[in-house]
């Protein structure tokens, strides 16, 4: 994942899987809409090179977290829709626990010592 703004690219790569699974947990969607959802939810601060989303989606499909089917958009274009599977839900729950732990750990330490907005 290549980053344009703010967040370090390794971190974006680490976020990508739970982010995509979480968006698909809201309902079946497709690539472009997923990216729009990411942009909206992060107010544009989390961005990645759009095309990189697709290899990730295909990997999650291969791992059995997603199912795909082809549909047609309102304009009559062929479109690949992605739907989360129970295995994907379980993976999302697991990732969520990990992120919450990471968040709590980091928050517990720099909540006292590091100013969030610079000096």
């Amino acid at each position: 994942m290549l980053l344009r703004v703010n967040i370090d690219k390794d971190l974006v790569a680490a976020m990508a899987t739970p982010l995509v699974l979480a968006i698909l947990a809201e309902g079946t969607s497709y690539g472009y809409a997923i990216l729009k959802r990411v942009r909206d939810a992060s107010a544009g601060e989390v961005q990645w090179t759009d095309g990189m989303l697709y290899p990730l989606l295909h990997r999650l499909e291969r791992l059995g977290y997603l199912l795909t089917e082809w549909g047609v958009s309102d304009e009559g274009r062929r479109r690949r829709y992605y739907r989360i599977t129970p295995a994907g839900q379980a993976q999302l729950a697991d990732q969520r626990r990990q992120w919450e732990t990471a968040n709590r750990t980091l928050g517990g330490i720099w909540g006292r010592t590091v100013p969030a907005m610079g000096i």
């Binding site: 090179t49 291969r62 274009r77």
Partner: protein, 457 residues
């Protein structure tokens, strides 16, 4: 930019994305749909088409980075495609290295042949010569370890797995040559049949660079095996033409040297071609489309029809006579089941999409028919064992059929899940790659355990 121009630009971009071949048609459709939607959105926010197209393309990412990311996820596709060899592999995959190993295999076979024909115990026959009985049994030891050594060098295999492979080979060699086989006995023949396959696992481990646990490496070994068999068959075909013409043309003028020509050229060619075919697979995998998947696609439906007919035919009691499952037929059935398994495994290794398709239905039909046949064969075998008792041959055949049956059942199960959209093709692949050690273990049982159990008879 008017609509025609935009269509042209998109078509150019699409060609560029698909050039590396890590992006297939469906992926390109998906990316193109994304691109078009992005352009529409940008236009809706007031940009002209001229302005929108480059922005939309840039957001999707640089073509080479994008295709590289696809290549990482779809490594199997790269197998068929133009990949630039890694620089270190390039030099080690050179023609002189390959030829050196091919010549080494040929020389080993010839030296052993001379030793075997001039030993005092010419009780076996090979290539028309009377030879010592150890020669045929050890033949695969003279060739396949050379191939394994070739890959160990090319792959720069780490020390620990290299030592493990040498140890496995050494143990097999010791066991075979210390066991007091009766010449021409069943156990001798069983070992003769199973040893090359067991050694092929050693070759496979070397091919995988010693990384035998990795499912993707195992799948690569499966692909390699299929391609190797095809290249070897092609070389053998060419060799047969050469030998036939040699016989036809030189035979009339120098009939007395023909035996020598065959004794020197044929074994050398058979041994050397093993290495040459392996090198061809490696060198050409970047140039030509893989052949095994193509042949698999052609023959899977045909075999499916044949298997269904056979399964129905042999299931109807009226058609089956008393001698329907005699010994020769059982061997034929074993070969058939192995061919089916080969077709299924290559079919799986060459899957182009991750979703179920018509080919999976055909494969499931073939596998279910093969299961029916395998069960019929097993019933007949158990009956034979019940009537006539255990022999080394019967145990070997029974075990092979059980091993195959379990594999086919798993294959049917996971193919069914895939078709019911409740499983993934990755599960199917994992089942097959995970099953390889079972085959290896069974081979070891036949080679190491059965001979002493049946007193080398």
């Amino acid at each position: 930019m008017d609509t025609t121009n935009l269509e042209e630009s998109i078509a150019q971009w699409r060609t560029a994305v698909m050039r590396g071949r890590s992006v297939d048609q469906a992926d390109a459709d998906e990316l193109e749909s994304h691109l078009r939607e992005q352009i529409s959105d940008l236009e809706a926010s007031g940009l002209s088409t001229d302005e929108a197209f480059p922005i939309a393309v840039r957001r999707l990412g640089k073509v080479d980075e994008l295709t590289a990311e696809f290549a990482r996820e779809h490594g199997d596709r790269m197998w068929k495609q133009l990949v630039t060899p890694k620089p270190d592999e390039g030099t080690r995959l050179s023609v002189p290295t390959m030829l050196a190993f091919a010549v080494l295999a040929a020389v080993l076979v010839q030296v052993a042949r001379l030793a075997a024909t001039h030993s005092g115990d010419p009780s076996a026959e090979l290539f028309g010569d009377q030879v010592a009985p150890w020669f045929p049994r050890n033949l695969s030891f003279l060739v396949l370890p050379v191939l394994a050594g070739y890959f160990a060098l090319v792959r720069r295999i780490p020390r620990t797995p290299a030592i493990a492979l040498v140890a496995v080979g050494a143990v097999l060699a010791l066991v075979l040559n210390l066991y007091p086989f009766e010449i021409g006995s069943s156990t001798d023949q069983l070992v003769w049949l199973h040893l090359p396959v067991a050694l092929w696992f050693v070759v496979g481990a070397a091919y995988a660079g010693g990384d035998v646990r990795s499912p993707t490496k195992r799948m690569d070994v499966v692909r390699f095996t299929g391609e190797w068999a095809i290249y070897y068959a092609l070389i053998a075909l060419g060799g047969a033409v050469l030998m036939g013409l040699t016989l036809a043309i030189l035979g009339p003028i120098a009939p007395e040297v023909m035996d020598d020509v065959f004794a020197w050229v044929l074994p050398s060619g058979i041994a050397g071609a093993v290495v040459v075919a392996a090198w061809l697979v490696e060198a050409k995998k970047s140039v030509v489309e893989n052949l095994a998947p193509v042949l698999t696609a052609i023959f899977t439906p045909l075999f499916a029809v044949m298997l269904v007919v056979a399964a129905v035919g042999y299931s109807i009691p009226g058609i089956r006579e008393d001698r329907a499952f005699d010994r020769d037929l059982l061997v034929v059935f074993d070969v058939l089941l192995l061919v089916v398994l080969g077709l299924v495994v290559y079919g799986i290794s060459a899957r182009s999409s991750r979703t179920a398709g018509a080919m999976d239905v055909i494969r499931l039909i073939a596998v279910v028919a093969a299961i029916v046949l395998d069960i019929l064969v097993l019933v007949a075998m158990f009956a034979r064992v019940g009537d006539l008792g255990f022999t080394a041959n019967r145990v070997a055949a029974l075990g092979l059929n059980l091993v195959l049956l379990v594999n086919l059942l798993g294959t049917a199960w996971f193919t069914g899940l895939l078709l019911a959209r409740r499983g993934t093709s990755a599960q199917l692949e994992r089942w097959q790659t995970g099953y390889l050690p079972v085959f290896a273990a069974w081979l070891l049982v036949v080679i190491v355990v059965l001979p002493p159990v049946f007193a080398f008879a």
